[in-house]
Amino acid sequence: MSIHLIMFLFFGVVAVAGAINLLAQSHPINSALSLIAVMAALAGEFLLLGAEFVAAIQVIVYAGAIMVLFVFVIMLLNAGAEERTKGSRVAIVLGIPGMLISSVLVAWAVLHSYGNQQVFPSVLEGAPAKIANLLFHEFLLPFEVTSILILIAIMGAVVLASKPHAVQKRKEH
């Protein structure tokens, strides 16, 4: 067992445990914390794969910004524990088996076609400069488009989250 495999298993177990805990917990703040754990573990996996920059950004953006937003909203709305309401039978009858079937199929297909191919992370260095080069040359258009997406998202968020009478007031001015 190489050190890589051990690390992989460690982070993988943390990630899966976090994901399952996300499902098991009834209080959203616990789910959020589990999700942060998953993200941190995934950052570790990224490091193993040689993607240092992606790992750092994963922590900063996902764990440090997006999840803070989630926690903030949970705190703002003072969301309590989940109620066990009778919702949809379809979700259980169709969804769960569908999900199981597809994951089994995907896992089988992946094992079938990739078998024991090894990953050599040391060859590929996710150096920020190289990624930036790619991002600002080959992917320049998508990059600019996402900037517009972000702008629209900001405006949408401001409009949606403003209280209705505040919007009304702003219109009157």
């Binding site: 989630f70 090894q118 190289k130 790619l134």
Partner: protein, 100 residues
């Protein structure tokens, strides 16, 4: 060295957990978090493939996924706040009318 398929299977497990969360959770915020979990699972696949094929584009894609996730979180959480204001509940089983 770790086989590529391990990463892919881990990614699939995380994705499946996300889907399950979407199916069984009632709290709309938790459901939203399940979506983030799915996105994370996909990101792992991207990075693993990038390492496998020595193509940095895979990592670049992770950035795009993150940007989309951030935008989605901003708008989605704003929507959740708006819904909560109108209905005073976060339970999706009770949010089944297609209007506020």
């Amino acid at each position: 060295m770790v086989p590529l398929s391990y990463y892919l299977v881990l990614s699939a497990i995380l994705f499946a957990c996300g889907v399950t969360g979407f199916l069984i959770k009632r709290n709309i915020i938790t459901i939203f978090m399940s979506i983030e979990l799915m996105l994370n699972g996909v990101n792992l696949s991207f990075v693993a493939f990038a390492a496998q094929w020595h193509a940095l584009s895979g990592q670049v894609f992770v950035f795009f996924v993150m940007v989309v996730a951030a935008a989605e979180a901003a708008v989605g959480l704003a929507i959740i706040i708006a819904i909560y204001r109108a209905r005073e509940t976060l339970n999706v089983d009770q949010l089944n009318l297609l209007k506020l």
